[in-house]
């Protein structure tokens, strides 16, 4: 079919160096590459997006990307109503030819590598995971990070804490919980959150580890290098551009909805960010591990439920 414009809807502003910004930037890039107009509706919150979905469809979007798990009930419904294909996250089973495809993007492979990296770099033998909530893709990355760390150093302690229910903008909570983990020995924090992640970053910047050294932060999705003050160790950077590009291609080819989309290490849509804090030898080892994951020598599974995460991190303290 003929596709002239696509739309992307995000819950928060596209300036968060994270989930929202990644989605919007990638959609714009993919659109530009395919010569398709991209309409952005950001800051929509988690309430009712049906009016916006309809408006996008009415305005001629040939594909609507509903970039939040909170939208994955509304988008397929409105897609069907308005006869527009939609892309959703966290509902792989909702796939429907010509109508719905899922791109439950999980950087779990990257998070696994991040776990390995963290375990290699930790001087205290403890690493921490802070999340502002427990949506599926974060669960997948949390558990992969824990597995990676454990695989690297079986005796390592992985501490895990959720800031609170719906604590997406709770920057103070992010800082408080991160400081608790640092006090619990963590010198590398794997942090996932929106507004709250800036609180985590600030905690890392303003605290020393229990060993007296600096604390590092491993981010997800985006690249916060432009605002780094020297504590950003790495990031599980997503690149949704190939996903969206593939979607555009499939819509044009009429094959949309026959398969879901994914991001992975192999095509570079997930990668670990190299910063100057990672020594070259360690980075070389990471490259090797990455090759193993890509080749299938190391198998990383995605666990999307919170319980799996809890089990993994609970099992760990007793191991030490």
């Amino acid at each position: 079919a003929d596709l002239t414009s696509i739309a992307i809807l995000t819950p928060e502003a596209g300036t968060d160096y994270g989930w929202n910004q990644q989605g919007i930037d990638a959609a714009k890039a993919a659109g530009a590459a395919a010569g398709v107009k991209v309409v952005v509706a950001d800051n929509l919150g988690y309430g009712d997006v049906r009016p916006t979905l309809r408006e996008m469809a009415e305005d001629g979007a040939g594909l609507i990307i509903a970039h939040a798990s909170g939208y994955n009930t509304a988008a397929p419904e409105i897609g069907e109503e308005m006869k527009v294909p939609v892309a959703i996250v966290d509902r792989p089973d909702a796939k429907k030819p010509g109508a719905v495809a899922d791109y439950t993007a999980s950087g779990h492979e990257g998070a696994y590598l991040a776990g390995r990296l963290a375990a290699k770099m930790s001087k205290t033998g403890t690493v921490g995971i802070v999340v502002s909530g427990e949506p599926p893709s974060w669960n997948a990355q949390s558990s992969a990070f824990a597995e990676g760390a454990k695989a690297e150093k079986p005796g390592i302690a992985v501490r895990y804490a959720v800031i609170g229910p719906a604590a997406y903008s709770d920057a103070a909570g992010g800082k408080r919980v991160t400081e608790a983990l640092i006090a619990a020995g963590a010198d590398i924090i794997f942090g996932q959150g929106n507004g709250s992640s800036f609180g985590m970053l600030q905690a890392v910047e303003t605290n020393k580890s229990t060993g007296g050294g600096p604390v590092y932060f491993i981010d997800v999705i985006g690249d916060k290098t432009p605002i780094d003050k020297g504590n950003l160790l790495s990031s599980v950077v997503w690149n949704l551009e190939p996903v969206y590009a593939a979607m555009i291609k499939d819509v044009k080819a009429g094959s949309y909805g026959t398969h879901n989309y994914d991001i992975n290490l192999k095509d570079g849509s997930v990668k670990l960010l190299k910063t100057k804090h990672i020594p070259d030898d360690v980075w070389a080892q990471m490259e090797a591990l990455k090759a193993d994951v890509i080749s299938g020598k190391i198998k990383v599974e995605a666990h999307f439920d919170a319980d799996s995460v809890h089990k993994l991190v609970t099992a760990l303290p007793t191991a030490q």
């Binding site: 502003a13 300036t15 160096y17 302690a157 501490r159 895990y160 804490a161 959720v162 800031i163 609170g164 229910p165 604590a167 903008s169 709770d170 920057a171 103070a172 909570g173 992010g174 800082k175 408080r176 919980v177 400081e179 608790a180 983990l181 640092i182 006090a183 619990a184 020995g185 507004g195 709250s196 800036f198 609180g199 970053l201 600030q202 905690a203 910047e205 303003t206 605290n207 229990t210 605002i227 003050k229 919170a306 319980d307 809890h310 991190v313 609970t314 760990l316 303290p317 007793t318 030490q320």
Partner: protein, 311 residues
Amino acid sequence: MGALFTDAFLTSLVLGALTAGLPLLLAGLGEQISEKAGVLNIGIEGMMLMGAYLGFVVAYTTGSVWLGFLGGAVGGMAVALPMVVLCIRLGLNQIVIGIALTLGTEGLTALLHHFQFAQSYPRLPAVPTLPIPGLSELPVIGPALFDRPAIVYLAILAVFVTAYVFRSTQLGLALQAAGDKPAALDAAGVDVVNVRSFAVFTTGALAGVGGAFMAEVGAGIFVPFMTNGAGFIGIVLAMQARGNPFWVLAGALLFGACLSATTALQVAGVSIPTDVIQMLPFAAVLLVLVLFGRRASLPAALGTHYVRGAR
């Protein structure tokens, strides 16, 4: 598991409870002053948020923590000003104006943040602490409670000062009279409108500093909507405290402790939904109301507009 509950970790839990509880304390204290004087201040969430915003902006641009807190106080008072004019002087409905001020401040600070900081997300450096000689050497509570930024001591001091003012100054008597029987205060020659205006401005200043604390110390950054309902919790704290500032302190620390307990349990690997633990303080307060809630617990003239000579 023994290795987890080290001194350092316990310290951070206590510290976390204190840091999370402090803005609630300041908001609750402020609300208590308003309520004591007979003003139901629903706009306190907005006062905190403006305090957080302005406190952060001033601290960030001047590099001075103290100017930041001053900015926070000014921000809170700026939101208190329309409340004073519209509700205390003109007698408009306190609930409506309170909600309007909160909504407006949420929108305004988010807008300002969007245009100023949404690209750069500036963060503040750590706020310097002031160790109290001797006490700060104590294990666990030493670093958690006695090696804090000076504002923390001031906030705790504010509880004592408020208690002192309530109990032992003319102002305290005037506040109480303004909330309980404004006509009697008026007849004694004290201007009820002035006392109430003073109370609301003080509330603004305290809530503003609370917000500034949240931004400067609690988070080190301002993000939109960051007060997240803390002002409403302050209202609840003030109401359950029945005019005693120490109950506000206790309530605020209880809330903080519940948050820290959530973190501790999670870090220890016990998985209870955060929601359950966060219900506890509310359930506790409600239980108190069921068991002891009587008419006498709130100022008789709370929420009413005073008009001299009317009857």
